[in-house]
């Protein structure tokens, strides 16, 4: 007799992305991850080396369809985003892309994503978490339409030094003129796409947005075009290493949304997350969190996101004490690790990773004032053979890795 179980209810099943027919054939180790209610490939191999080096040396093709996407259109579309985010949306040109966080009225981050000006009165907003209610709450009294496109729109990220070459082969129009954080319409295999020069790896890279129905045709076209340039389907675990090198943080890993924080101390402001450059206090009109951000700007932040490079000789000494060579994790570690100045804990690392391209053990760290000043010597906890030890490390400016071709 069939049993009624919630586990089989569609609500409890992870959705498949529009690329599932391809990615599932390639994901041989079945290393799946959950992302926004979808099945997302963690890695296509047992190890991450091949995919990681595709990002840094040639071209990685990453399915980023689970991103939450909204289309915001209407007379007050710009006004809504201008109010929602700390950036000056009214100054944005059509085809421009802004990266931004957005806050509650206490100036604490709720989420972060990109805003793309598709047209004069039309925008695309990406987010890590659903934002419909927050958008609706902010749209009161405005003439604006918010449509969620998450499932209708598929997206691929093509990242790596060869991504431009491959796109030029695949696209109807060349993408050479497309500048960093700009978007242009194009066609791949006869299908309409929009291509933005954005990414989550800190390398040269593009994101390709398309109708979900065209997903497989476009995947195939890109794979064909990229064959001679080493295009490599890549999972989100290799991307996770690359994004730490690029100094990019992640919701729920490196900060907690103010809407989910249990206690006030769990919240973070854009200034604390190094997004001060996105906060435009000179812009016209009210925006959510304005008062609080003005105050924080005036008084200074007590925390700051920074980079940390773990001193190799120091790490060697810790392991040498037990007769071992230094050990480093094979993928990005999403776990809080204490950071000390002398006996006192002054912060924590939220993501740490071995950086193959830099040959360094690095971490995204949250440090209290004044320890976030670059050059500060601190110590980070390392667990050597089940014993917790402290290893010397240096605070550095983000990003760790910034190749010249990223913006060129």
């Amino acid at each position: 007799m069939p049993e009624l179980s919630t586990a089989h209810h569609p609500l409890y099943q992870l959705r498949r992305t529009p690329f599932h027919a391809r990615t599932s054939q390639l994901c041989l180790p079945h290393n799946w991850r959950r992302w926004g209610g979808c099945l997302a490939v963690g890695s296509y191999d047992l190890g991450l080396d091949r995919e990681y080096w595709a990002i840094r040396n040639h071209a990685a093709l990453i399915d980023i369809s689970p991103l939450i996407k909204y289309e915001i259109s209407g007379r007050d579309a710009a006004r809504l985003l201008h109010r929602l985010t700390p950036r000056d949306i009214h100054r944005m040109q059509v085809g421009q892309v802004y990266y931004t966080g957005w806050c509650d009225d206490d100036g604490k981050l709720l989420d972060d994503g990109t805003v793309t000006r598709i047209g004069e009165q039309s925008f695309r907003l990406t987010a890590a978490e659903p934002q419909y209610r927050w958008l609706a709450m902010n749209a009161v009294g405005m003439q604006v339409q918010v449509t969620e496109l998450t499932e209708q729109m598929a997206a691929l990220s093509l990242q790596g030094p060869k991504s431009r070459t491959i796109l030029n082969l695949a696209c109807e129009q060349p993408v050479d003129a497309l500048k960093y954080f700009r978007m242009a319409f194009n066609r791949i295999a006869g299908k309409a796409v929009s291509v933005s020069r954005t990414g989550y790896t800190g390398d040269l890279g593009y994101e390709i947005w398309m109708d979900a129905a065209d997903a497989l045709v476009i995947w195939d076209a890109l794979m064909t075009a990229g064959h001679d340039y080493g295009i490599t389907p890549t999972g989100i675990l290799a991307m996770d290493m690359a994004r730490v090198e690029a100094g990019l943080f992640m919701l729920d890993v490196d900060y907690t949304s103010a809407s989910h924080a249990w206690i006030p101390g769990q919240r973070s402001s854009p200034y604390e997350m190094g997004l001060g450059w996105t906060v435009n206090l000179d812009k016209q009109g009210y925006f959510v969190g304005r008062r609080a951000l003005e105050r924080e700007h005036r008084e200074g932040s007590s925390w700051q996101l920074a980079g940390l490079e773990i001193d190799w000789e120091g790490l060697e000494r810790q392991y040498a004490a037990v007769g071992m060579p230094p050990q480093v994790p094979g993928s990005a570690v999403r776990g809080s690790i204490p950071v000390y100045a002398g006996p006192r804990q002054v912060g924590y690392a939220s993501t740490s990773t071995w950086s193959p391209v830099l040959k360094k053990y690095i971490a995204l760290v949250h440090l209290q004032q004044p320890y976030f000043t670059p050059g500060t010597k601190v110590e980070i906890e390392v667990t050597v053979e089940h014993h917790r030890r402290k290893s010397p490390a240096t605070v550095v400016t983000l990003p760790f890795y910034d190749p010249e071709w990223k913006k060129k």
Binding site: R83, D104, D105, G141, M142, Q143, Y286, R290, R291
Partner: protein, 543 residues
């Protein structure tokens, strides 16, 4: 007036009281009124149909402290000191005449005919109600704290003094008052009296002006609130009626150097960087001022006049959540004088069940078949308060229901007063939709709002905006919402938390006119702050 310090939006009684206090404190005050005359609802109105109606309140009275401090007697205002009778029309054609005094022998004798036990308890009841009303009055004058952060000095001390006042009532009264506030009118009255006739007469006052029935929780509070406003069960009158009150207030504003501009509807309150800059009139003219005091209800002020895009999202959400469901209609009947109605406040509230049934209709989007009425007379004019006339009618609209409204009201009255129908010369009815026009809908952007703006007599009445002639009320039911914040927008440059818009204040539904105006005057350091002598407006307790 050039460069006013303070703009007051609306010249109703609330706006005028605020204006008079602020002008008296040396501020340059300009009152902006959309209509051609000051007075708001007290002044009557011209409806969309072109018909004019006189003042909508049967009586108007201000709390004694206001009359004294604004020297309104000098401006021509006198309030009747006599205990007015409250008359309940009974099903058998008889009348139960009640004077809200502990030792009125005629009242006690009338109650004795219903129940000797109740007659014995009446003096104690009146005494208790007076003390409960005095406590409510003290609570209304107390600065409510800004949750969730309570500052010990600013919030704790006033609260402590209120608690002390409650404690001073004695253990028995303290307990009874706290209980009564949350009870229904049925529960409250049945604890005191066994006669349903008496209980229903009292319960009528408990549901007056609110969209609640005699069995709804919280009507114990509205009973005490209305008792406080009226000084008992019946309305009291002042010389010249509502018009006289308006005239006195206008004189007080002008005498203190304030200015009133009529025909100057405010289209927008201008805000930049969450700071009030002034207003834009419907004519397009802009007037700059550092402080704007709005008499309009918070929802209309904030979402309509300031505009949601200028306000924090959580705050907008809370403001949208203010319940607005009107259910009051009015009739103004001109007679030849032989209407046969007794003096005082006449209620059609025969049984507790009758009141609850009348209220039931609002749940189904209908108008009460047998309505609860409250009737007052001013010479040959008869003013009828009709409950419940649901604003949002199901399967009907107020355009077509007007004749039915008039029929039900007049038939119900004629049942008790046979001579009434023959005396009628003309009938002017004011449906909830008409009332909305008078109160002032948001005409600027009607489409931007998900639901229609309904004058809520639950809140509006409690606040003194629409129904109650008492200008010094603020809504208890609203205090737990955004009112916490509104209350602190008064001080320009207030550092307490982050006000939604500095320099914006309320003097109608969202604020307390006198209390706040005085605080503002004190903040202005001129005249120097002096202790408030807040004599209770309820008659002295005698039970």
């Amino acid at each position: 007036m050039t460069n006013p310090d303070i703009l007051i939006v609306g010249a109703g009684h609330n706006g005028l009281v605020a204006a008079a206090y602020l002008a008296k404190a040396g501020k340059k005050v300009l009152v902006l009124e959309q209509r051609a005359t000051a007075g708001g609802q007290l002044a009557g109105a011209t409806l969309a149909s072109g018909a004019t109606v006189p003042g909508l309140h049967p009586a108007g009275q201000l709390r004694p402290a206001i009359v004294k401090e604004l020297d309104l007697a000098r401006h021509g205002l006198t309030t009747s000191a006599a205990d007015a009778p409250y008359v309940s029309a009974l099903p058998d054609g008889g009348l139960l005449r009640l004077v809200s005094s502990a030792n009125d022998t005629a009242t006690i004798e009338a109650i004795r005919r219903l129940s000797p036990r109740d007659a014995g308890r009446w003096p104690e009841f009146v005494g208790f109600m007076n003390r409960a009303a005095a406590f409510l009055d003290a609570a209304y004058s107390t600065n409510m704290p800004r949750l969730p952060r309570i500052e010990l000095r600013a919030d704790g001390l006033p609260l402590a003094s209120l608690a002390l006042q409650l404690r001073r009532m004695g253990g028995k009264d303290m307990f009874r008052v706290m209980r009564s506030l949350s009870m229904s009118a049925v529960e409250l009255t049945e604890e005191w009296f066994e006669s349903e006739t008496l209980n229903a007469a009292i319960a009528g006052v408990a549901i007056h002006g609110v969209t609640l029935g005699s069995m709804s929780a919280g009507t114990g509070f509205t009973l005490i609130h209305n008792w406080l406003n009226r000084g008992g069960l019946a309305h009291r009158t002042s010389t010249g009626g509502p018009q006289g009150l308006t005239e006195a207030l206008v004189k007080a504003v002008l005498a203190n150097g304030g200015e009133i501009r009529t025909g100057a509807g405010v289209a927008q309150i201008l805000v930049e960087h969450q700071r009030v800059l002034g207003v834009r009139l419907e004519s397009g003219e802009e007037i700059k001022a550092s402080t704007v005091v709005s008499e309009a209800d918070p929802r209309r002020t904030l979402l309509g006049l300031v505009g949601a895009p200028e306000l924090p999202p959580e705050f907008v959400w809370q403001t949208q959540s203010i319940r607005m469901r009107g259910s009051v209609a009015k009739l103004i009947v001109r007679t030849d004088g032989r209407h046969g109605l007794p003096d005082g406040t006449v209620a059609i509230a025969p049984t507790l069940r009758y009141l609850e049934r009348a209220y039931d209709s609002t749940k189904y989007g209908e108008m009460s078949q047998d309505p609860y009425l409250e009737v007052t007379t001013l010479g040959a004019d008869v003013m009828v308060h009709f409950q419940f006339a649901t604003y949002a009618l199901r399967n009907a609209d107020w355009g077509s229901m007007r004749p039915e409204l008039e029929k039900r009201a007049l038939d119900t009255l004629a049942l008790h007063f046979p001579a009434f129908k023959g005396s009628i010369q003309s009938v002017q009815s004011i449906t909830p939709v008409d009332l909305e026009q008078i109160v002032g809908p948001d005409r600027r952007r009607p489409q931007s709002r998900p639901a229609d703006p309904r004058p809520d007599f639950l809140h509006a009445a409690v606040a003194g905006l629409v129904e109650s002639p008492h200008p010094d009320r603020r809504p208890v039911s609203l205090r737990f919402g955004p009112a916490w914040r509104w209350r602190h927008q008064w001080h320009p440059g207030s550092q307490r938390g982050a006000p939604v818009a500095e320099g914006l204040a309320f003097c109608g539904l969202g604020g307390a006119t006198r209390c706040e105006a005085k605080r503002h005057a004190a903040a202005a350091r001129w005249p120097p702050p002096r202790p408030t002598t807040d004599s209770s407006r309820a008659p002295p307790a005698s039970g």
